[in-house]
Symmetry: C2
Subunit: 126 residues, 2 copies
C-alpha cells in the first residue's frame, strides 16, 4: 500500500557532464520540458545537480558563458529506490528543493523525482 | 477536513511588470529563492507568468537582454481561494506546470501555490 520512490520516479533521466556549457544545459532543459539535470562524472557517478534556478542565477550574475561545474550544486540531496514517499517529501521540504535524483549503492543515477511527481499523487482520481 | 487553496498558498507574492528586464527578474528569483513570478499590469491585474524555465529558454536562444513581455506566458492557469487541493493538483498535472497564482474575482493576485507546497502535504508528520 505504502508507495516508494521506485514507483513514482521517472526512469528516463537525461544527465550532463561538468565540462558542458551552461547554454547547452539550457537547451537540454527546454528540449526535455523539465527543470533539473543530474551531473555525472566520466564513470557515470553523481557529482552534482544543475537546475533552471542555477541558470537564472547565472543570468542575474552575468555568467551565462560559463560551464556546468562553475554553477552546479555539488552536495546533492538524493533518494533511494525503496525510500517511502513520506521520506522523499520530507527531504524536499527540509532542503527547500524541488527534485531529488534516485541513486543506487554505487551512486549511479537510476531515476529522478520532482515535486511535480509528488503533487500528482494528490490530484483527484489518484 | 478538506484542505483548500487558501490554506496552503503563500500570501507574500512578489510580482513583476511586463516592461522589466529579464536580468532584473532573474535577480528577483534568486533573492526570493523561488522559481515563479506573476506578471501584473499597471492596475495590478494578472497578465502573465514568468519562471526560471522561461529564463533558461532565453539563455538557450540567446535572448537574455530582452524584457519580461518578450518571454512570459500570457495564458495563465490560475487557482481560486476555495479550490480544493485535489483541483489544484489536477491543474498542475494537466498543464505540466509547477505553480499556479491564486486570484480573486477581479484577477488580482492574492497568493501563489507551487508543487513544492503540494509536496509538503505528503511529508511525514503532515
Ligand atoms: C535552494 S533551491 C531554491 C529554489 C527552489 N526551491 C528550487 O528547488 O528550485 C535552488 C538550489 O537548489 C539546488 N538543488 C536542487 N535540487 C537539489 C538536490 N537534490 N540536492 C541539492 N541541491 C539541489 C539547485 O542546484 C539550486 O542551486
Ligand atoms: C510547461 S512548463 C515545463 C517545465 C516544468 N513543468 C515547469 O513547470 O517549470 C514551463 C512553462 O510553463 C509556464 N507556466 C508555469 N506556470 C504556469 C501557469 N500557472 N500557467 C500557465 N503557464 C505556466 C512557464 O511560463 C513556462 O513557459
Amino acid at each position: 500500500r505504502k508507495k516508494r520512490a521506485s514507483q513514482i520516479m521517472s526512469r528516463q533521466v537525461v544527465v550532463v557532464r561538468p565540462y558542458e556549457s551552461i547554454r547547452d544545459v539550457a537547451k537540454n532543459l527546454i528540449k526535455g520540458g523539465f527543470n533539473h539535470l543530474p551531473v555525472v562524472s566520466e564513470d557515470d557517478k553523481l557529482v552534482g545537480i544543475i537546475t533552471s534556478w542555477d541558470i537564472s542565477k547565472a543570468v542575474a550574475n552575468g555568467l551565462v558563458d560559463g560551464k556546468v561545474e562553475d554553477i552546479m550544486t555539488t552536495k546533492v540531496v538524493c533518494a533511494f529506490e525503496d525510500d517511502p514517499i513520506e521520506t522523499v517529501a520530507h527531504k524536499l521540504k527540509k532542503y527547500k528543493i524541488s527534485a531529488v535524483p534516485v541513486v543506487d549503492s554505487e551512486r549511479h543515477v537510476i531515476g529522478m523525482i520532482t515535486s511535480e511527481d509528488m503533487s500528482k499523487l494528490l490530484a483527484k482520481g489518484e
